[in-house]
C-alpha cells in the first residue's frame, strides 16, 4: 500500500469562492421569491373571500331562512344541510375506516391480500369526486331507491372520505411502538383486548385528526352530492334522512352560475363562501393542532 504522490497543481479555491457565493445568493433569493409568490396566490383567495363576504355576514344571515327566491334572507338550510351531510358521512365511514386500519396494521403482516387491499384504498383515494357522484347516483339513488336524499349523499361522501380515515388511522397505529403491544400480551391479553385496551387509546389523537380532516373534506365537496343529495332551493329544513337538502358548496355554485338576480345573489354567494371557508379551515386547523400537540406530548 502506498500513498500516491501529491499532485503538483494545488486546488486554487480563492478565485472561485466569490462566484460560488454569488450563485448561492441568487439561487436562494429565487427560492424565497417563489415561496412569496406561492403564499401570495393562496392568501389572496382567502383574503378576497373574507373581504367580500365579511359585509354580508351577520347573525341573521347564519340563522334565517332564504327569502324572495334566494335573493334575501339567510342560509340556514345550507349550513344545516352541510352539517348533516358531513355528520352522516363520518357516522358511516368512521367505524369502517378504523376497523379496516386495525385489520391492516394489527392483524396481518405483509401478504398479497393486504397489498391488494392497500392498493385498492390508494386507488379509491384517487378516484375523481364526480365519479363518486355517479356511483352514488346509480347505487344509492336509483338501485337502492333512496332517491336524492340526505342518506344517499352521506353514503356517497362516506365512501369518498374512507381512504382519508383509513390512512390517517394506519399512520397513528404505526407510530405506536411494539413494546406497548408486548406489554399487553405480557399481562395475558388476547389480541383484541390488547388492541382495544392499549392500542386504540394510544392512537386516539391520530384517529381524531383523520376524522376531522374527513369531515372537512366532506363539507367542502360538491361533485359527489350534485346528483345524490342537493337541491337549489327549499322552503323547509330537511325533515328526515330521505329528504333533499341544501348544502353550502352547491349553494355557492348555483348562486354564481344559475342565479337569476346576480346583484342580490352574488353577495350571498360570497357570504356562503366565507362561512364554508371558515368552517373547513377551522376544522382542519383543529385537526392540525391536535396532531401537533399529540406529537409533542408523545412520551415514547
Amino acid at each position: 500500500m502506498e500513498i500516491s504522490p501529491a499532485l503538483n497543481t494545488p486546488l486554487n479555491i480563492k478565485s472561485y469562492a466569490n462566484h460560488r457565493r454569488l450563485v448561492q445568493k441568487i439561487g436562494i433569493s429565487i427560492l424565497f421569491l417563489s415561496l412569496i409568490v406561492t403564499i401570495f396566490f393562496l392568501f389572496i383567495i382567502v383574503i378576497f373571500i373574507a373581504v367580500r363576504g365579511a359585509g354580508v355576514l351577520n347573525i341573521e344571515f347564519l340563522t334565517a331562512m332564504p327569502r324572495q327566491a334566494m335573493t334575501k334572507g339567510g342560509i340556514l338550510p345550507a349550513i344545516l344541510g352541510t352539517f348533516y351531510l358531513s355528520l352522516g358521512a363520518v357516522i358511516f365511514a368512521l367505524p369502517l375506516g378504523i376497523l379496516t386500519a386495525i385489520y391492516l396494521n394489527e392483524y396481518t403482516g405483509a401478504n398479497t391480500l393486504v397489498r391488494i387491499i392497500k392498493m385498492g384504498i390508494n386507488n379509491l383515494a384517487g378516484v375523481p369526486s364526480i365519479v363518486f357522484g355517479l356511483f352514488g347516483l346509480a347505487i344509492f339513488v336509483k338501485f337502492f331507491g333512496f332517491g336524492v336524499s340526505l342518506l344517499s349523499g352521506s353514503l356517497t361522501l362516506a365512501i369518498m372520505i374512507l381512504p382519508v380515515i383509513i390512512s390517517t388511522t394506519v399512520e397513528a397505529l404505526k407510530s405506536i411502538p411494539d413494546s406497548f403491544r408486548e406489554a399487553g400480551y405480557g399481562v395475558g391479553a388476547t389480541k383484541w383486548q390488547m388492541v382495544r385496551g392499549i392500542i386504540l387509546p394510544a392512537a386516539l389523537p391520530g384517529i381524531l385528526t383523520g376524522t376531522i380532516l374527513g369531515i372537512g373534506r366532506a363539507a367542502g365537496e360538491t361533485a359527489p352530492i350534485l346528483f345524490t343529495a342537493v337541491t337549489f332551493f327549499s322552503r323547509k329544513l330537511p325533515k328526515s334522512i330521505l329528504s333533499e337538502v341544501q348544502a353550502l358548496p352547491y349553494h355557492i355554485y348555483a348562486l354564481v352560475t344559475e342565479g337569476t338576480h346576480p346583484k342580490e345573489q352574488i353577495p350571498i354567494a360570497y357570504g356562503s363562501a366565507l362561512v364554508l371557508l371558515l368552517l373547513v379551515l377551522g376544522l382542519d386547523l383543529i385537526a392540525i393542532i391536535i396532531r401537533t400537540r399529540a406529537r409533542k406530548k408523545k412520551l415514547w
Binding site: 500500500m1 504522490p5 501529491a6 499532485l7 486546488l11 486554487n12 478565485s15 469562492a17
Partner: protein
C-alpha cells in the same frame, strides 16, 4: 485480537514527507482556545483549550455523551447546520480564526475534510462521488478530474478493489469499502486536516484494521484527528490523546504517556475501565 491477513506494512515514500507543513515553529496545526458549545440550554463543551500538532494523529476519547463528536464537528463548523447550536471561543487554522464571521464554512471544509461514523457515499457512481467535490472547487477538466480521482482512490487503498467498476453505484461496495471511498472523497479535494468521527464503529474488525493502517499512512501528509470510543484503537494509532469528560478536557498529552502514566485520577479510572 483478530488476525489480519493481506495488509502490507506501510511503505513510506520519502519524497512525501515534506509536501505539506504550513506549520509554525512549534509544529502546531490547529489552536483551540476556550471553545464552548451549547445546544439550547445544554452546555456540551466547556472551555476546551489545546493545540493539535502537524502530521500527527490526535485521538479524542471519552464516554458516550462527553461531547467528543460535538468537538470534532466544531473543527469544520459542521455544527453550524444545527439551528440551536451556540459556539464561542476560537479555533485557529493557518493564523485565522475559523469562526470569524467572514470565514466561509465551505472554504474551511475544503481545508478540513471529514469522514463520518456511518459510511455515507452519495447516491452516485464511485467516480462521481469523488468528482463531485472537485467540480465544486472549480476543476472542470475531465482528464484532470480523472487523474485526481484515481490518485485519491489509490491513496485510500481502494484502487485494486474498484478499478474495474468505477462507474458502478457506490452502494454496490461493502461497508468497509464504502468507508474507504468516503476517505478517498475527503482526500480528493486535498485537505490539510482530516477529521474521523468514529470511522470504524459500523465496520467489522478486518475493515477496521485496513482503515487504521490507512490512517497511519496518511499522517505523513495530513493532520488527522479521530474521535473513538475504542481505547485500544486510540492507543494503537494515535500520537496524542485527549480525554473528554462531561464536556471538559480532563487531560491531553502524548498517547504513550497518557495511557501508561495518566496525570489525572479520572483519566486513570476511565482507561482502566472503571466507568464509561
Amino acid at each position: 485480537m483478530v488476525k489480519v491477513a493481506n495488509i502490507n506494512p506501510p511503505k513510506i515514500i520519502p519524497a512525501l514527507l515534506d509536501t505539506t507543513s504550513k506549520c509554525d515553529k512549534n509544529n502546531t496545526r490547529l489552536k483551540i482556545e476556550k471553545l464552548n458549545v451549547s445546544f439550547g440550554k445544554n452546555h456540551v463543551l466547556k472551555d476546551v483549550t489545546f493545540n493539535i500538532k502537524c502530521n500527527s494523529i490526535t485521538a479524542i476519547i471519552g464516554p458516550s455523551g462527553c461531547g467528543k463528536s460535538t468537538f470534532i464537528r466544531c473543527l469544520n463548523r459542521m455544527n453550524d447546520i444545527i439551528p440551536s447550536a451556540r459556539i464561542t471561543g476560537k479555533i485557529i487554522l493557518d493564523d485565522i480564526n475559523i469562526y470569524d464571521p467572514n470565514y466561509e464554512p465551505y472554504e474551511l471544509r475544503k481545508k478540513v475534510g471529514m469522514v463520518f461514523q456511518k459510511p455515507n457515499p452519495f447516491p452516485k457512481s464511485i467516480i462521481e462521488n469523488l468528482a463531485f467535490g472537485l467540480r465544486l472547487h472549480g476543476i472542470k477538466n475531465k482528464r484532470e478530474i480523472e487523474k485526481r480521482v484515481v490518485s485519491a482512490i489509490k491513496s485510500a487503498a481502494l484502487w485494486d478493489e474498484v478499478k474495474n467498476r468505477l462507474h458502478d453505484s457506490a452502494f454496490s461496495l461493502s461497508g468497509g469499502q464504502q468507508q474507504r471511498l468516503c476517505i478517498a472523497r475527503a482526500l480528493a479535494i486535498e485537505p490539510e486536516v482530516i477529521l474521523f468521527d468514529e470511522p470504524c464503529s459500523a465496520l467489522d474488525p478486518i475493515s477496521t484494521a485496513k482503515i487504521e493502517d490507512l490512517m497511519i499512512n496518511l499522517k505523513q501528509r495530513y493532520t488527522i484527528i479521530i474521535v473513538t470510543h475504542n481505547l485500544q484503537q486510540a492507543a494503537r494509532i494515535s500520537d496524542y490523546t485527549g480525554f473528554l469528560y462531561l464536556g471538559k478536557l480532563v487531560e491531553f498529552g502524548e498517547t504513550t504517556k497518557l495511557f501508561t502514566a495518566p496525570k489525572e485520577k479520572l483519566t486513570e479510572n476511565y482507561i482502566t475501565g472503571r466507568f464509561g
